[in-house]
């Protein structure tokens, strides 16, 4: 072994290079490591030379084609002394061989993170690296962290190593990478930080065995206590304990050992370790436990026992103790600190307790013994803030999945097509088009009056005369000799944020206006909201926004769907289509709070002299109010996204209007003339003079 002390494995100032740096996992972990400690001088990946790996808020990491190019390109003082291997398993041997060949006398340690490296390759790596005087950690290691120097290789500590790894006196040695993090977090509650966290890997051959690490830890000044997590397989623990026993001097640091796998031996189930057949019975979990217990000369830690500070206990605990379950780690560590006088690093944090974030026994609680009843605990940061943020957010935030061959909206099992699980045939037999349409768009059946309102919106959207942009689109396309589908698409193509898309903006506007209300049913006349107050607030905000913009000479955001280019000449203006919807609700003794709000807002804007007369609440506002009314409960229950509601508001208009555009197509095709939409040349206005007819001196 080349290293003489733990810091020789990794310390501040080490220069780390990464193989296959652009790989999926390597790129993410390397960027996080660089952000944490900035110890990476470069990396390589076949065919990726010249690229740079971006590091958030940091210097990009240069990428070379191989280790030779990396050393040739970097100045000598940046030549790496530590290499992290992320290459695919089939490439690991060639990679390590190349590293050994081009080591230039600087490379001290190779950390192999790659999983599924063959045992033969691992044995070969062990041999060539031993001959080259290079230490190897791995394969299948998660990496190493030196907490005092705040440096790491691999992904020990995840994205935020500082969270669990506070500088302290415990060295953690673990076959399982994840357990390095876990044990570090547990030790915090005993007042112990970490000096080194070492994930050895858990392949059949562990190239940095426990014995070697314990030797390195023997004289390490920052380490006062050692925790070991091991699994069945290999004679690593036996060798290590033999080494501890055979030394002339007693090993100076207490060890807390956790051996897993005993229970599973009974089930004849293999764990991470391959196990060894001819290495004997001492490779089993049971045997390893026995070996540790014999070395410690004390029974495994029992939280129920009150340990006295007797000479025997001091003698035993100065060697260490085994724990039977992992959450006994802090208590066992505290015991050693107290009995053997190991100085704690800081005041113990909160003890490890059951801390539920959410609890609901659903009525069974009364039948449970009180000691088994938990109450909601304190959710720590940053999670509590995230919960508040996500809970406050309106609408669903679906988890993405591959939808190539999947659909919620439709299905067909070969017998029956369905819409969101509802039989299409039954829809045809019993419902209305609007009812099935809302089912297809939201996954939920509307109430009868809601379907009727949608139907009215669709009818209202059919047309507003041949001069509308969308109708013109259809007519232009027809005039050019296109088929009906093209003409209808042309009408759709002529819709946008200005024409037709206002409903979408209206939904967004209404959502921000009503987001803090406790509205449950927007159609309930007893909704309990002070709509006038909401309207006044929105009018005031608009007024301030407009005044500020005017003073600054900039544009400002209008309130969507108020005012109409046609219906605008009266002291109080109405869009007749919107009035049909308004009156329908009135007849049904219902209301739509959003539509009512719009009317109040229009009046309030006149009241505070923003408008000269009362603007019409146009049909887009009515459509938005109806759609939002239908979807409000689904949004509240986070069953539907805000984006979907906005889109539905647009789609109601678009569907109605594209049907109307079909009417324009049929009419224009039968009665129009080819090219009749063309504007005659003499009606076109040229805004530039012809350049080639200039008579200026330049010509």
């Amino acid at each position: 072994m080349r290293a003489k002390k733990l810091s020789d494995l990794l310390k501040a100032g080490d220069r780390v290079a990464v193989s296959n740096i652009t790989g999926r996992e390597a790129a993410v972990v390397t960027a996080a490591s660089q952000k944490y400690c900035g110890n990476i001088v470069g990396g390589w990946a076949l065919g990726r030379q010249g690229q740079k790996l971006d590091v958030p808020h940091g210097r990009p990491i240069p990428v070379f084609s191989n280790v030779e190019e990396l050393t040739n390109s970097l100045p000598k003082e940046q030549w790496p002394n530590k290499i992290v291997v992320y290459s695919p398993p089939q490439a690991v041997y060639a990679e390590v061989k190349e590293i050994v060949e081009h080591r230039n006398g600087t490379i001290e340690t190779i950390f192999i993170i790659t999983e599924h490296v063959s045992i033969e390759v691992t044995a070969k790596i062990a041999q060539i690296c031993s001959q080259a005087n290079i230490d190897v950690v791995g394969c299948n290691s998660l990496g190493v962290i030196n907490v005092h120097d705040a440096v790491r290789v691999g992904s020990v500590g995840g994205d935020s190593p500082g969270e669990n790894f506070r500088p302290g006196c415990a060295t953690i040695i673990s076959n399982s990478g994840n357990m390095v993090n876990t044990m570090a977090s547990y030790l915090l509650s005993a007042g112990l930080g970490t000096s080194y966290g070492i994930s050895t890997g858990k392949d059949m051959l562990i190239l940095m065995p426990l014995k070697n690490i314990l030797e390195l830890a023997r004289d390490d000044e920052s380490t006062r206590i050692i925790t070991v997590y091991c699994e069945p397989g290999g004679l690593y623990e036996k060798d290590a304990l033999q080494m501890l026993r055979s030394g002339k001097q007693k090993y100076p640091k207490p060890i807390i050992a956790y051996v897993t796998g005993e229970v599973l031996e009974k089930f004849d189930l293999s764990l991470g370790h391959a196990g060894a057949v001819v290495e004997g019975k001492e490779t089993t979990a049971t045997a390893k436990m026995k070996l540790f217990d014999e070395y410690f000369e004390i029974d495994p830690f029992d939280p129920g026992i009150k340990y006295e500070k007797t000479p025997e206990t001091i003698k035993a605990l100065s060697r260490g103790i085994r724990i039977k379950t992992l959450h006994h780690l802090p208590a066992a560590a505290a015991l050693i600190c107290d009995v053997v006088d190991v100085k704690r690093d800081f005041r113990p944090s909160e003890p490890l307790v059951l801390n539920p974030w959410f609890v609901d026994y659903k009525g069974y609680g009364k039948h449970l013994p009180s000691e088994q009843i938990l109450h909601r605990g304190k959710t720590p940061e940053p999670y509590w803030s995230q919960i508040k943020l996500l809970s406050k957010a309106v609408g669903a935030t679906p988890t993405p999945r591959n939808m190539r061959n999947a659909s919620h909206a439709s299905s067909n099992d070969g017998r029956e097509p369905r819409i969101y699980g509802y039989s299409l045939e039954k829809e045809m037999a019993g419902g209305s088009f609007a009812e099935s349409l809302i089912l297809a768009w939201t996954g939920q059946r509307p109430r009868d009056f809601e379907a009727q309102l949608i139907e009215k919106c669709l009818i209202a959207s059919l047309t507003n005369g041949p001069g509308t942009i969308s109708a013109q689109g259809a007519k232009l396309s027809t005039s050019a000799g296109n088929a009906p589908n093209t003409a209808m698409i042309a009408a759709l193509a002529c819709m946008g944020d200005i024409h037709g898309g206002n409903g979408r903006r209206a939904v967004e506007y209404l959502l921000q206006a009503f987001q803090d209300t406790r509205l449950s049913d927007p159609y309930d006349p007893d909704h309990g909201l002070d709509l006038q107050k909401i309207a006044n607030k929105q009018a005031d905000q608009f007024s301030k926004r407009r005044t500020a913009a005017k003073e600054a000479g900039t544009d400002y955001e209008r309130i969507p769907c108020l005012g109409h280019p046609v219906f605008n000449g009266q002291p109080v203006n109405y869009d007749p289509r919107e009035q049909v919807i308004f009156n329908f609700l009135k007849e049904k003794k219902l209301c739509n709070v959003f539509l009512d709000f719009y009317h109040l807002l229009a009046h309030q804007l006149k009241e505070i002299d923003i408008a000269k007369n009362v603007w019409a609440v146009n049909i887009d506002a009515a459509i938005a109010s109806v759609v939002l009314g239908n979807c409000w409960k689904m949004l509240e229950e986070k069953r539907i996204t805000v984006r979907r509601v906005c889109d539905i508001a647009f789609m109601v208009f678009a569907l109605g209007r594209v049907a109307g555009a079909g009417g324009e197509f049929l009419d224009h095709q039968d009665f129009g003339m080819p090219m009749d939409m063309r504007i005659p040349v003499d009606e076109c206005v040229a805004l530039n003079k012809p350049v080639d007819r200039r008579t200026s001196p330049r010509d």
Binding site: N178, V263, L264, S270, T325, L354, D360, T379, L390
Partner: protein
């Protein structure tokens, strides 16, 4: 279950390729005339053996000597239907009986002491090597690049006290065994015993090997290892097939025979310690599972669906638990599990099984809220923990809770 090889495929495919001396053999499909001729040729003695993924076949009484073809056929039929040490036989076969004056043990494996291959030899062959005294066996390191030299192995045999006239032939066969080992990507092979005939010729009379599936040489064996009838449950078979259907995310599960807690667990290390805690605390886990490795939605949904369909009905508590994930997206996995739970309820009707959840990792809060909302919608009792509560403590609580959880019929809905 790692890829393993027993004596019969060794005789059929490997021994000849590597020039290893083995007894002649016939499979159970051989005709009466073939068997009659073979026994006659072999000097009137043959052994009927089961092809089974288990050692100690002789001790189990499954290896029988036959002297005529009628008995041989009867035994071949009988042996095929045996269950040996809990393993079902695939088939049976007949081998030549090799008279011997001496038996030798040999094994090659990768050795944690040397971090290299090693060979173990003993002249006390035919018995379990662990029962052989240390001074009667020898283990030595093999250079993984240079391989095993005849000189090295003959020196070891001689040290064990092997008669000088036997050393040369045996050494050559042991070198051939090394070639077999290193050329086929094995991680362990054992010949026990080599039977040494009175004229000094060694025969490999039983063989077993475990392959390293990560070694490309194993993938290029040139033949498929036979499939053995496994003592798998339908659930295990379905999970094994589902696990093999994709490389994305793990879907490992084995039945443990428990009857209280259905654990849906993540991460190899965490899964093991959680199961150990459950067993220690009387939680009686139904399965051992490890579903980490950042499975995508479809993978996790399928995994959870199979687990629920086979086990949820009998489970008294559902435990969804894992450590602080480095890569696995919690929202994706939890959404998939939640959807599978909903699908189960839709398919099989309402349940009231309490659910305990504990997890950490990327997109944790979103995942936990998805899970909570689904459990609420399904009306299931739940307790949800974050990453600051140790997984073993959560497992301990689950084991205690399940034991005191009232039967559904005893409780009126009071929520």
């Amino acid at each position: 279950m790692p890829a393993q090889m027993t004596e019969l495929p060794f005789l059929e495919h490997i021994a000849g390729r590597f020039n290893l001396p083995v007894p002649e053999f016939l499979t159970a499909e051989a005709g009466a005339a073939q068997i009659r001729d073979a026994i006659k040729r072999w000097g009137g003695k043959a052994l009927v053996k089961p092809d089974v993924l288990s050692g100690r076949r002789g001790k189990a009484g499954a290896v029988t000597m036959v002297t005529d073809y009628v008995e041989a056929q009867r035994q071949l039929k009988q042996v095929q239907s045996l269950e040996i040490n809990g393993h079902l036989c695939r088939t049976a076969y007949l081998t030549q009986y090799i008279p011997a004056e001496m038996e030798v043990y040999s094994a090659i494996t990768y050795d944690s002491r040397y971090l290299a291959p090693s060979m173990t030899l003993s002249l006390a062959g035919g018995v379990e090597i662990e029962d052989v005294a240390d001074d009667q066996k020898i283990t030595f390191q093999i250079d993984v690049f240079k391989g095993l030299g005849a000189y090295q192995v003959s020196e070891a045999i001689a040290k064990l006290g092997c008669p000088a006239n036997l050393v040369s032939l045996l050494s050559r066969s042991l070198v051939d065994l090394w070639d077999t080992f290193i050329s086929t990507g094995m991680r362990m092979c054992e010949v026990n015993p080599w039977r040494i005939t009175p004229d000094g010729k060694p025969y490999a009379c039983d063989f077993k090997a475990v392959f390293d599936e990560a070694n490309f040489k194993f993938r290029n064996l040139g033949f498929n290892l036979p499939e053995y009838p496994a003592n798998m449950t339908i659930f295990e078979e379905e999970m094994a097939s589902w696990n093999a259907s994709s490389y994305r995310g793990q879907a490992h599960a084995s039945e443990l025979g428990g009857e209280l807690i259905l654990p849906i667990l993540f991460g190899g290390g965490a899964s093991t310690i959680i199961i150990e805690t459950l067993v220690q605390c009387g939680g009686s886990p139904i399965i051992l599972s490890d579903f980490g490795g950042n499975p995508p939605y479809e993978r996790m949904f399928g995994t959870a669906k199979i687990c629920f369909e086979h086990n949820l009905k009998k489970a008294k508590l559902l435990l969804i638990l894992g450590g602080n994930a480095n890569n696995t997206l919690i929202d994706v996995t939890f959404k998939a599990i939640a959807d599978a739970l909903e699908a189960y309820v839709y398919e099989y009707g309402a349940i009231s099984t309490p659910v305990i959840v504990g997890r950490g990792g990327p997109h944790l809060v979103k995942g936990i809220l998805i899970m909570r909302d689904t459990l609420e919608a399904l009306g299931l009792p739940y307790v949800i923990f974050g990453p600051e509560t140790p997984v073993t403590q959560v497992a301990e609580y689950a084991a205690k809770l399940v034991k005191v959880w009232p039967e559904t019929g005893d409780v009126k809905d009071e929520s």
